[in-house]
């Protein structure tokens, strides 16, 4: 698993590539938490999962945990480019109730910019 993290205004964009499981989850968690702490202005978390090939409950748990950190600031979680498989596991774990599925990062960025 490789991931890149980028802060754009009030949004943290996480781009994932490969498999997110128990092995990589702690590092992923720490780096996101660190950025949240460095950037108190962050309100939105975008998970670009187009090139994520595998996720299980350990990976999902880390995403949920980051969303909870963001929730204390009134934040929102978005998944972009989720293929039907990833959508299914996200639905099974209740993410459709707490996040939005979007087609592209740009779509979310312009939306949250409009919302201010």
């Amino acid at each position: 698993m490789q991931f890149s993290l980028k802060v754009v205004d009030k949004t943290l964009v996480a781009t994932l590539e490969g498999e997110l499981d128990l092995h990589k989850s702690p590092e992923f968690k720490e780096e996101i938490t660190m950025l949240f702490n460095q950037h108190p202005e962050i309100r939105y978390l975008i998970m670009d999962v187009e090139r994520m090939t595998f996720i299980d409950s350990s990976g999902l748990g880390v995403i949920l945990g980051r969303f909870k950190e963001l929730q204390t600031r009134g934040g929102k979680l978005y998944f972009v480019n989720a293929n039907p498989r990833i959508r299914r596991i996200l639905q099974l774990s209740g993410f459709e109730r707490i996040s939005s599925f979007k087609k592209s990062t740009d779509e979310v960025l312009s939306q949250v910019r409009g919302a201010k």
Binding site: D21, L22, H23, F54, D56, S57, L60
Partner: protein, 144 residues
């Protein structure tokens, strides 16, 4: 003649071996006629069971995990066994959303195993270990 085969693998309880286990198992399972989605389902189930052994059974300390898989005709059987701390209350452990580490984990491992496999049987004894056995039948596919 019935078509059958089996494998047994032992490996160290290490977070790195979660990916090894699900990939090795997917390779073995591919000898049967699954759809790509079904192979992915099997990978999730194996990943959950092995992760549980690593994180709960051995609490990230050293240990041995045994993975056995076999099929006969169109039924695949997988078992994952550890010799770790065991489960006190199996019914509670299987509840959707129950985790003994709720701050970090979602309590969805057993839920995913049940969702993605046909049958899941858990045997566990305190301080002796846990064995999860799952099976899944190949669905008849059109044109085959």
């Amino acid at each position: 003649m019935t078509d059958k085969n089996w494998v047994k693998i032992e490996f160290a309880s290490d977070t790195k071996n979660v990916a090894f286990a699900r990939t090795a198992l997917a390779l073995f399972a591919s000898q049967l006629d699954w759809t790509l989605d079904e192979i992915e389902d099997i990978k999730v189930a194996v990943s959950e069971a092995v992760s549980n052994s690593v994180i709960h059974g051995y609490e990230l300390q050293e240990g041995v995990i045994k993975l056995e898989a076999s099929y006969e005709e169109d039924i695949l059987t997988i078992s994952i066994e550890d010799f770790g701390k065991g489960i006190t209350d199996i019914a509670q452990a299987k509840e959707t959303g129950y985790s003994s580490i709720p701050e970090e984990r979602m309590g969805l491992g057993f839920t995913f195993m049940h969702e993605y496999m046909d049958e899941v049987v858990v045997l566990s004894e305190i301080q002796k270990g846990t064995k999860v056995t799952m099976n899944k039948k190949v669905q008849a596919q059109e044109g085959s």
